[in-house]
């Protein structure tokens, strides 16, 4: 430790600490502009200059490391005068158009001038004016050059954290201007983090422009519902109308970072077609009914089914919160007496025998419920089966920062290329399901499969892995769609044991593409698994044994699953389909009973993110009047079936939840949820883990056949994001992404791709991505499930499809 004296106070700090960090730990206020946590140090704004005894020049506090017995003055006369001069010089060219500036009221320059400025300027000449008009760099980012103070926070965050390198600086000296190529932002992720870090009103949000003044806005801090990263965000509303999302350095796993979906997709709460009241199908058409009537109908139907020994199936969307999920499984188990509960129809691999047991085995015994930050401390980070930069963009940003900042190796094996490939020490394309094979080889001293690319990859990374004291496995959940899900899960458990046995620290976290996937499972929304991963009898399920009543909460399995997929079949043949959801969707159209649910943004509760952290959801506006909330509806159904009503408040529900799942909500560096869960009946069973991996056939994809894979992209989180006006405007047209093989890119300009499979086809413009391998083709899930004729996976994932590229120049050609 080093002892220093700052403004007369003595403190001890770690060697290497900067004066600024030391000062902030003492709550000494040193103004800064260019400094931003997690970005490289620039030390260019010169606002933080302080006096260090024995040095003849003032030193930038942000960049100067403490030295033993350093005596620092951060408020001496000289320092104060310097700040005043610096602000006067900075304001000389600043337009001072605060009354019409979007940033007015939350501007760091304005605040700093109030606090540290002199209040008057002697500089009276004409100000520099770059341009009269602002430049819309793209659909969400607009730039006013005159206000820019060249702190370069935007440029640094874009390159160092987001990894886009879309922003840069043109010209030099006073003419320096932030810009993109040709005044637009090529390669921009539209994350808007540059807007967030801009201290002044230079970079602004197009959707928020001139919409409100910060002081008129009502703020609610809540958790994003786009993916499992679980970013904190602040939704701002005026007169009940949503205006903008902000994020703050001090809160959440994400700090100031958000992705395009998080920052610009919140308007989805105002989109889509809201279901206004209960409805029932009469002669094929939906007619409004009273709540009473609808509930009575469901209760009567359920009673008949139960008495006749029929089946009742439940589906819940991974966007539902823990509390609602807990009540939902109660409704299914205690009221309807059914175990047949599904939390994601997309993960068809979980329907295979033994898969759910393997999942429980991994989640209870191996998953690390630890801060992502601590997982990122591993020397070796293994990213498996995930396009993290598109499905969990902020996790990707954090990963990029950690890899850039630290001396560590990143390995990537996934079906889709991702934005972190350039940082990876090694990367390869791997078909979903082959994770099992890769992990298996990683555990062999000498990988034995000759001529297999996985083999080559493993031998490249093995020396580094062997040397590392700590390894983090970050695993996407794409493999859960494949028939090899169970094998993958078993190999995941084995590989953790394997490296732990070598004395390494091993971390395991999943990268879920939905905000509460883990939470739903924790809450018992799985067939045969009660809350807290306790074993409970599972229901037999075959196509012969179709449910007589299906209750869908929030999800849209009729859209998501294949025609002859058992899950989809069940609803089609169900004698009674209850759809309880906030907005119209494919399943809702088919419903026998349609109940409005409380949407995200109007209900309180919690989500469990990828870390296992339970985070609060707060309503950002009042829920619709005269409608029972989703949880109230469950009580009404229970009561109609002669059972008592349970608590519905989020806090009250935590009591029974914690009783079933000890440790729920406790989270931190120390809380070991693994142990808590391990006691719940999923011991490591040798028989399970030693099951041989069934290696997938190495199909030689010839001619026009390719494997179709799907998932989210930067602007999509399933169908949900289709409700966002802003996101839809950024990503409105479907595309098929693939590597077309030889030939310059421009030769493929304007080409269309048609995918054909068992009579169905999907056609969209070609998007070239040469980082794909030549045996895969990608279509974002939202596009694949939209529109009439779609390709269905039918439990086969990845799916072999015929690919035909055709275009204006060439006639249909094979690839």
């Amino acid at each position: 430790m080093v002892t220093i004296t700052l403004d007369g106070q003595q403190i001890e700090v770690e060697p290497g600490t900067t004066i600024l960090t030391a000062a902030r730990s003492l709550a000494v206020n040193i103004p800064t502009f260019c400094y931003q946590e997690r970005l490289s140090i620039s030390a260019s704004c010169r606002m933080c200059l302080v006096e260090v005894e024995g040095r003849n020049k003032l030193e930038p506090a942000c960049a100067t490391a403490v030295a033993p017995d350093m005596v620092i003055h951060s408020h001496s006369e000289k320092v104060v005068a310097t700040r005043e001069d610096m602000l006067e010089i900075l304001l000389a060219n600043h337009p001072l158009d605060c009354p019409i500036c979007d940033k007015g009221g939350e501007c760091e320059l304005q605040d700093t001038v109030f606090e540290h400025g002199k209040g008057s300027s002697r500089l009276r000449d004409f100000k520099r004016v770059f341009r009269e008009r602002d430049i819309e760099l793209n659909k969400v980012i607009v730039f006013n050059a005159n206000r820019c103070i060249q702190c370069q926070r935007c440029v640094r965050i874009c390159e160092e954290v987001v990894g886009d390198v879309a922003l840069g600086t043109a010209e030099r000296g006073l003419d320096s201007e932030i810009t993109g190529v040709g005044n637009s932002l090529k390669d921009c992720s539209h994350c808007g983090n540059c807007i967030e870090v801009c201290p002044v009103g230079a970079l602004m949000s197009v959707p928020y422009r001139y919409k409100a003044r910060p002081w008129d806005l009502l703020e609610t801090e809540t958790t994003c519902n786009m993916c499992g990263t679980g970013c904190s965000l602040t939704a701002q509303v005026r007169d009940g109308e949503f205006k903008r999302v902000k994020s703050s350095l001090d809160t959440g796993i994400n700090g100031e970072l958000l992705c395009a979906k998080g920052r610009f997709g919140f308007d989805a709460i105002d989109g889509g077609d809201r279901i206004q009241q209960p409805m029932m199908r009469v002669n094929g058409a939906h007619v409004p009914v009273s709540w009473n009537e609808a509930i009575r109908f469901i209760a009567t139907k359920a009673r008949v089914v139960m008495e006749s020994g029929g089946g009742i199936q439940g589906h819940i969307s991974p966007r539902e919160n823990n509390e609602t999920a807990y009540m939902f499984q109660n409704l299914m188990r205690r009221v309807f007496g059914s175990q047949d509960i599904h939390a994601s129809t997309r993960f068809s691999g979980l329907r295979k025998a033994g898969a759910i047991e393997a999942l429980a085995h991994v989640v209870t015994g191996y998953l690390d419920r630890k801060p992502f930050k601590s997982v990122l401390q591993a020397e070796c980070v293994f990213l498996l089966g995930s396009n993290v930069s598109q499905e969990n963009p902020v996790s990707g940003y954090l990963l990029r920062s950690a890899i850039r900042g630290g001396n560590k190796s990143l390995f990537i094996a996934s079906s889709r290329p991702c934005g972190l490939d350039d940082l990876a020490a090694a990367s390869m394309r791997l078909l979903p399901g082959n994770e099992a094979q890769l992990l298996g080889l990683l555990m062999q001293d000498e990988p034995k499969m000759a001529n297999n690319p996985i083999n080559g990859f493993v031998s490249v990374i093995q020396p580094t892995v062997a040397r590392a004291d700590s390894i983090a496995f970050l695993i996407g959940t794409e493999f859960l769609r494949s028939s090899l899900a169970a094998e993958c899960l078993r190999k995941i458990a084995q590989v953790v044991d394997y490296f732990k046995a070598q004395g390494k620290t091993v971390y395991l976290q999943f990268l879920f593409d939905r905000p509460n996937q883990l939470g739903l499972w924790d809450m018992g929304c799985l067939d045969g698994i009660a809350p807290g991963w306790q074993r409970s009898a599972s229901s037999p399920k075959t196509t012969e044994n179709l449910p007589d009543l299906t209750y869908i909460l929030g999800s849209d399995p009729l859209r998501n699953s294949a025609r002859d997929d058992p899950a989809a079949l069940s609803q089609q043949r169900s004698t009674c389909l209850v759809v309880h959801t906030s907005h119209y969707n494919k399943s809702a159209e088919q419903a026998d009973v349609l109940l409005p649910a409380t949407p995200y943004g109007e209900e309180s509760g919690t989500y469990t993110n990828n870390e296992g952290r339970v985070q609060v959801l707060r309503p950002v506006r009042e829920a619709a009047q005269n409608q029972p909330s989703t949880r109230q509806v469950f009580n009404l159904i229970a009561q109609a079936l002669g059972q008592g009503a349970g608590p519905i408040g989020s806090d009250q529900l935590h009591v029974p939840i914690a009783a079933d799942f000890p440790g729920f909500g406790s989270f931190g560096d120390t809380a070991d949820m693994r142990m808590a869960a391990r006691t719940s009946g999923w011991p490591i069973s040798e028989g399970d883990t030693d099951a041989p991996v069934i290696l997938p056939e190495n199909i030689d994809v010839k001619g026009r056949r390719r494997y179709l894979i799907t998932g989210d992209n930067l602007f999509q989180s399933g169908q949900y994001t289709a409700r966002s006006g802003v996101l839809s405007s950024l990503d409105a047209t479907p595309y098929v992404e693939l590597n077309p093989g030889p030939g310059p890119d421009h030769a493929f300009e304007g080409m269309m791709v048609t995918l054909v499979s068992s009579g169905n086809s999907f056609t969209a413009p070609l998007k070239i991505n040469r980082s794909f391998d030549k045996q895969t083709v990608f279509v974002a899930e939202r596009f694949l499930t939209e529109g009439g004729k779609a390709i269905h996976f039918e439990g086969e994932y990845p799916k072999l499809v015929d690919v035909v590229i055709s275009g204006p120049e060439k006639r249909a050609s094979q690839v």
């Binding site: 390198v165 879309a166 840069g168 600086t169 043109a170 030099r172 190529v181 040709g182 090529k186």
Partner: protein
């Protein structure tokens, strides 16, 4: 630059030279400056398609190329005349009469500093110190220095240049 030149053309033109430059450095980013210089030698200027070509040849973000092109003042981002006259107006040259020479040049060519004559023969620019103050005032004509100038010497120089069709090689 003529609109006819396509990205593919530019990449083809520059590929070999850029590859040679690239070999001198451990990172491809380092070759941005030499690559832009090659392009400028070839086309007399650098612009949008050049940035894209260099970015693709070196596999670096295009904005990096543009940043460099706009930071350094020797890169011409618009078409210049057949001869580029760069008159040093910095202190040592100023003390020895560069202001009068600038006036003279502007009058003779009927353009202002920063402009190109309508026949496309000359571009005139006032520049910072050329590092030849011992022969102040100095004019850089394309790649060569001409020192100890007077208005008479300038006239002779202009006359000889008018007959000369292309830029001297660097």
């Amino acid at each position: 630059m003529s609109d006819a030149r396509s990205l593919t053309d530019i990449k083809r033109d520059l590929a070999t030279g850029v590859r040679q430059m690239r070999a001198r450095y451990p990172t491809s980013r380092s070759a941005i400056m030499p690559a832009l210089e090659l392009a400028q030698q070839k086309y007399g200027q650098v612009e949008g398609l050049t940035y894209q070509a260099v970015s693709e040849l070196l596999d670096v973000p295009e904005i990096w190329v543009f940043e460099v092109a706009s930071f350094y003042s020797l890169f011409d981002r618009s078409q210049t005349g057949r001869h580029h006259l760069r008159l040093c107006t910095n202190l040592s040259c100023m003390l020895r009469g560069s202001d009068a020479l600038m006036q003279h040049l502007q009058n003779r060519l009927a353009i202002k500093s920063g402009e190109t004559t309508s026949d496309g023969a000359f571009t005139l620019t006032d520049v910072e110190c050329l590092g030849a103050c011992e022969m102040a005032p100095v004019l850089m004509v394309d790649a060569r220095y001409h020192g100890d100038l007077t208005t008479d010497k300038l006239d002779v120089l202009l006359a000889s240049l008018a007959g000369q069709p292309t830029k001297e090689a660097t």
